[in-house]
Amino acid sequence: MTDTDWPLWEVFVRSRRGLSHTHAGSLHAPDAELALRNARDLYTRRGEGVSIWVVPAAAITASSPDEKDPFFAPAADKPYRHPTFYEIPEGVKHL
């Protein structure tokens, strides 16, 4: 058995209540409990977080850069999904 058996974990930190968890970085740990503790020591030692998720890096399925166009380009031409698309007469409030 070698060191390589310590898998890679991705760390997500909620910086304060009301915000979502964001990706902070990664680390190695033999299991989830230690991954969580290592994440606490490494990514929140200056008080950067109130909550942590750790996820095995191998469990993440990511979109491929090759699929960038089919995945994301179609969403770019639907301006009617954004409020700025609509013109409202001046003086109308609460819209």
């Binding site: 058995m1 898998p7 890679l8 970085g25 033999p30 299991d31 989830a32 942590i52 750790v54 993440i60």
Partner: protein
């Protein structure tokens, strides 16, 4: 994001297909992204040489962080006040953390930490030569903070805009955390400089020994730097070695005056015409000798690193064995 298995899919696909037209399209997209100051992310196609350059540079940077713990850790047990002891422990701890961030960034390129550590331990990858100098007195802790961290910051701030996303993000975090490192060193030296005559002499001696090696940290002169031009074209590097060295000297001169300490260079003076300081010739023979392994502490540093790694093997194996016994251990967790 470091999804280990997935990193190389795009690049591998491009190669497997041996489709020159497609590769060229990938290359064009890569070049366009770099030109537009866009970031390259782990799963984007990138030239093999770009990947190799980054792995080499990030690994060397990571190795420097963890080897760099040693000269300062040398004084943790002897720190002369509890306040200084706390500061120094926190700083050395940060260096371990920074090593971790950087190894993580290197891993997004498909090279695991074990492999990189193995290359460090076997001498196939280097770390910054500055850490092959000894910390002989307490003042050396201050000189490292002020000059070595100062030089490192000068080098690192532009790396926050490096074209490779994970490296740039690691550097943002590191630069933010390191802002206290240089200040504590300066403050430490200031206390010594304003202290007893013995303390003042200790501070001057440290500056005398660390000044020239700090200038060497920017690397060989531009005309002798083998990797510089390509790295600048790829926007891994943003400024030349000599440019950064000049900037550093200009910053340090007034700081040394405020400290009441002299910089050990009789040729150092302001050049009105150039708008920079002129400074004496750097002893590049010393630089190359230390780089080759003939510095005062090369052997000591790498031996300690190897020993720590070897003596920790049973711990790493035990934790892995425990995880294998208890449900494989790779379920995610929350706190």
């Amino acid at each position: 994001m470091a999804t280990a298995a997935a990193h190389r899919t795009a690049a591998a696909a491009a190669h497997d297909a041996q489709d020159t037209a497609a590769t060229t399209a990938y290359e064009r997209a890569f070049d366009a992204a770099v030109a537009a100051d866009d970031r390259i992310e782990p799963r984007d196609w990138m030239p093999d040489a770009y990947r190799a350059t980054l792995v080499r540079q990030i690994a060397q940077h990571a190795h420097s962080e963890i080897i760099g713990m040693q000269p300062e850790a040398n004084w943790i047990t002897r720190a002369p006040s509890l306040r200084r002891k706390a500061i120094l422990m926190a700083k050395v701890q940060d260096e371990a953390g920074h090593g971790l961030y950087l190894y993580s960034a290197a891993e997004t390129l498909g090279t695991g930490r074990d492999e990189l550590l193995d290359k460090l331990h076997s001498g196939r990858q280097k770390y910054s030569s500055i850490f092959n100098y000894p910390t002989l007195t307490w003042a050396d802790v201050g000189a490292i903070g002020w000059l070595v961290d100062g030089a490192a910051i000068t080098n690192q701030v532009p790396l926050c805009r490096c074209s490779y996303g994970p490296y740039a993000r690691a550097m943002v975090r590191i630069c933010k955390e390191e802002s206290f490192h240089q200040r504590q060193g300066y403050e430490l030296l200031l206390a010594l400089s304003n202290g007893t005559p013995e303390q003042h002499a200790m501070a001057q001696d440290a500056v005398d020994r660390w000044w020239w090696p700090s200038l060497m940290m920017f690397g060989p002169p531009d005309d002798a730097s083998q990797h510089s031009a390509q790295s600048m074209a790829w926007k891994i590097k943003r400024h030349s070695n000599d440019e950064l060295r000049r900037r550093f000297v200009d910053i340090c001169v007034p700081q040394a005056e405020s400290l009441g300490l002299a910089l050990p260079d009789p040729d150092l003076r302001w050049n009105e015409e150039r708008g920079h300081h002129d400074f004496g010739a750097i002893d590049w023979t010393e630089f190359w000798e230390v780089l080759k392994g003939n510095g005062p502490c090369n052997e000591q540093r790498i031996t300690q690193r190897r020993r720590a790694h070897d003596e920790g093997a049973w711990v790493r194996e035990a934790a892995a064995a425990h995880a294998a016994k208890h449900n494989g251990g790779t379920q995610g967790a929350r706190a």
